[in-house]
């Protein structure tokens, strides 16, 4: 129940006044409510819980936190490239 799953927004539409989206969980498509992430756009990754996106995944923060690992020598360049594809 608390295990959110990241998904990519592929289509946004309105349903009865609610902002909804079709999202892609790596090949499995489902409907998700975007009411709590009004800023989300097609192509964004969102964290989805029981049919609701509860946040947009912050690409910048993801990169920065991996860079911290890189700087601390906890991952090497090769792994970093794999972790941070362009």
């Amino acid at each position: 129940m608390c295990l959110g799953i990241p998904a990519k927004i592929v289509e946004i539409y309105d349903e009865g006044g609610l902002k909804m989206a079709k999202v892609d969980f790596g090949g499995v498509y489902r409907e998700t409510c975007l009411a709590y992430v009004p800023e989300a756009e097609v192509g964004d990754y969102v964290m989805v819980h029981v049919g609701f996106a509860i946040n947009v995944i912050d690409e910048q923060a993801a990169r920065e936190s991996l860079e911290t690992l890189l700087e601390a020598g906890l991952i090497d360049e090769k792994t970093a490239d794999h972790l941070m594809p362009d």
Binding site: C2, P6, E31, F52, S65, L69, L83
Partner: protein
């Protein structure tokens, strides 16, 4: 899949584990609050790759496990009514009540349906205007935005044949109760990443300070978890007790303020009994009086229910991190996922189910 695969990179996980080994000088006890994290830890064997001095104890963050037996029995009574379509997340169907579970109600002809989103219930309500649709609204702060929205939309659209049996629980009061207990052994917490996605982590700052206990917001993939552990151990070794964020791609300090606003509009704080643990003051959310007409507990009079727990089940101790699942005498014997005696053996977030599923039979 993006944001999943890369956080399972074995080489990166190993290096972080090496660093944990390098910096650990003393024994430390850490608790992961969230049952989803317990499953990741046991599935990837992370606990077995840590230095011997570091003990991970599993916390009460399994919504299915802590939903009070009285409410499970009430759900079963409501679901058995012929005029009701009872809807729930799948996990709740096999949770043992005093006499049976919801799956048995379904087998006996009850209309019990698993939904993916609480919004599905509103569709069912509109299609079945002659029936009462009841949703089992359980969960921590993570499911609250969805449940609050279902109530809010039902109200807005004037849907009168929908109600919710609410059993919401909140993490910070549970941490406070654990830390206030004289039996407490936990020295640092990995706080639940997705609870914090909704609520942020500012609520944990006064707790970390008051009890002098480090708290690290942690995600669910192996690299996220070892990173959370590394940050917590580093704080312990340095003698610091702060709230740190090891999951910044998803969690911010303030959380999702729009979700918080709707939760506040629909729910209000209330005392809540946690199954196996007992009452914790102010640890739950109930519907506000303005939304009382959507409260299934008020709408349906189920009479007096007599509740009885299995005398063999030690779930309360497991949920407080005082007993490991495989130390329960019934584990894998009288109690298995096929014949569960307690909720932690059923739920995909239950510690007993994690130990059973990933073959942790012996100590």
């Amino acid at each position: 899949m993006r944001y999943i695969q890369e956080y399972r990179d074995a080489d990166a996980v190993r290096r972080v584990l090496d660093e944990i080994h390098r910096i650990t000088t003393r024994p430390w006890v850490l608790m992961e609050i969230c049952g989803g994290q317990t499953h990741s830890i046991i599935r990837y064997g992370i606990d077995q790759l840590l230095p011997d001095q570091i003990e991970l104890v599993h916390g009460p963050g399994c919504p299915v496990c802590v939903t009070p037996l009285e409410l499970i029995d009430m759900a079963i009574a409501i679901a058995s009514r012929p005029d009701v379509i009872f809807t729930s997340f799948g996990d709740m169907l096999r949770v043992p009540g005093s006499k049976k579970d919801l799956l048995q109600v379904k087998a006996e002809g009850g209309d019990v349906r698993v939904v993916y989103s609480p919004l599905d219930c509103l569709k069912i309500a509109k299609e079945n205007t002659d029936r009462e649709i009841v949703f089992f609204g359980v969960g921590f702060e993570t499911t609250a935005p969805a449940n609050a929205m279902a109530i809010y939309q039902a109200h807005r659209q004037g849907i009168g044949n929908f109600s919710m049996l609410v059993s919401h629980v909140r993490v910070p009061p549970a941490i406070e109760a654990l830390l206030s207990s004289p039996q407490n052994r936990v020295q640092a917490f990995l706080t639940a990443g997705h609870v914090c996605t909704v609520m942020g982590y500012w609520e944990y700052e006064p707790l970390a300070e008051r009890f002098g206990v480090p708290m690290v917001v942690t995600g669910f993939e192996p690299l996220d978890i070892v990173r959370g552990i590394l940050m917590a151990v580093r704080q312990l070794e340095d003698g610091r007790a702060e709230v740190e964020n090891a999951y910044p791609r998803v969690v911010t300090r303030e959380g999702n303020t729009q979700a918080q606003a709707l939760i506040k509009q629909v729910f209000t704080d209330c005392d809540r009994k946690w199954r196996g643990i007992g009452p914790i003051p102010n640890s739950g959310w109930c519907l506000r009086p303005e939304y009382a007409e959507y409260d299934a507990a008020l709408k349906f009079d189920v009479g007096d229910l007599e509740v009885t727990e299995s005398p063999l089940c030690k779930a309360g101790l497991v949920l407080q991190g005082r007993l490991k699942p495989d130390e329960c005498p019934a584990f894998g014997k009288e109690c298995t996922p096929r014949h569960p005696l307690g909720a932690p053996m059923v739920s995909s977030e239950g510690a007993c189910a994690a130990y059973y599923q990933f073959g942790r039979y012996s100590k």
